[in-house]
Amino acid sequence: MKRPALASVLAPLRVLLPTWRFFDDVAHGLRLDARVGPDADALGPWQTVFPAAMPRRRAWNVLLDGDGNLRLAQRALLDTLVSDLSDLTDADDPSELASYAQVLTLAREVLRTRALPEGAHRLQVQIVQPQEGGGTDALLRSAVHPLHDA
């Protein structure tokens, strides 16, 4: 998993390297769930934090759609984390991944806008892959973290 320093610095240069392989593999969209509670042993039920319900698309969104494109960028964070997880060995700690921290921050960002149970200080997230027949497959279940970032 230990990526060389050069690779992390060069990652943004992907914008210079066209591949044009759009929609090569079409999978079911990933979902981010979270549960909160006062401590690790008393977490509440899972709730979907991303994606949320889609706002209605307007005709002028063909020109400007800041929120829609932000959602696409946030969605890409889940894909990046799942891709990064596949590079890990058993000895690696997923929480060291930048994409893990970003997805955790995404959950906190969404939960800040929701009414949460009083005394909720802990947070756990999972990335879920819906399956063809209606079931789901949990690709990652995180450790329990503080609900509010330090």
């Binding site: 210079l16 066209p18 929609f23 079911h28 494109n69 964070l77 921290a101 921050t105």
Partner: protein, 262 residues
């Protein structure tokens, strides 16, 4: 005005518009890119933990909240300048640099393929302006035209190889599986297997057939019109509005090269 210079002007106008729209979108959501957000700089910079410290310190200064807004302002002004032909020699290279900076800021393209095509067009325009003469303009426009044709052909060839694209299943899944914010009406229609299969083959035929645009000016005009319609549909169905403007910006380069060869 030569035909190459005219095509270059049109390309600059369209890519200037595309970058201006992209920048306005980032302005609109800048608070959702703040320090406590998933795409905020503190979260993104963790990806540079192994980079040299001096580089990370420089990036911290460049992507602090106020500096980031300044970066967007420079990008917007340059995009408008390019679209209006106020300072085309400087504007395109500046936009290459600001686009690269944004790619560093988000640790990769913010919006995938549309950012890549925008960069292709900006590089082609910059090259044409840097070389300065008619031959240079042809080279710059040629690079854009070649990438445009490749973008469709590679995307089509990849789909053609996949059984789930040939059966229409991939398109149905794309519209119903929650990967994109699909317009409800489009999701219902493309959820029908017969419609999905027909639409899939139409997309594959358009993309794989796009190199035909190089052979004849009339074929080029038809394919560009179909391509534009395809991107408008993608903007409506999948919310990929940035792709529409980025790809349209590359169209004058292909039209020029086809007319030249005709």
């Amino acid at each position: 005005m030569t035909r190459a210079l005219e095509a270059l002007h049109h390309t600059e106008q369209l890519v200037g518009l595309a970058v201006a729209l992209q920048t306005l979108e980032l302005f609109a959501v800048r608070r959702k890119l703040g320090d406590a957000c998933a795409l905020g700089w503190p979260a993104v910079r963790r990806g540079y933990v192994r980079a040299p410290r001096s580089l990370v310190r420089a990036l911290d200064r460049l992507f602090a909240a106020r500096a980031f807004v300044l970066l967007l302002a420079v990008q917007l002004a340059s995009a408008i300048g390019l679209a209006c032909a106020w300072f085309p020699h400087a504007a395109a290279p500046v936009l290459v640099l600001t686009s690269l900076a944004l790619s560093v800021r988000f640790r990769g393209p913010y919006n995938g393929g549309s950012d890549v095509m925008t960069m292709v067009v900006l590089l082609g325009v910059s090259l044409a302006r840097a070389l300065g003469d008619e031959r240079g303009r042809q080279i710059g426009l040629g690079y854009v035209a070649a990438q445009l044709v490749l973008s469709y052909f590679v995307a089509g060839a990849v789909k053609l190889r996949r059984a789930h694209w040939r059966s229409g299943e991939a398109l149905t899944r794309l519209c119903t599986a929650g990967s994109y914010d699909v317009a409800p009406f489009a999701a219902r229609v493309l959820g029908m297997p017969g419609v999905a299969r027909t639409a899939s083959w139409a997309v594959i035929a358009l993309e794989c057939g796009f190199p035909l645009a190089l052979l004849d000016a009339r074929a080029c005009a038809v394919l560009l019109a179909l391509g534009a319609g395809f991107h408008v549909a993608n903007a409506y169905v999948l919310g990929l509005n940035r792709f529409l403007w980025a790809w349209l910006a590359a169209y004058p380069a292909l039209a020029y090269w086809t007319a030249l060869a005709d």
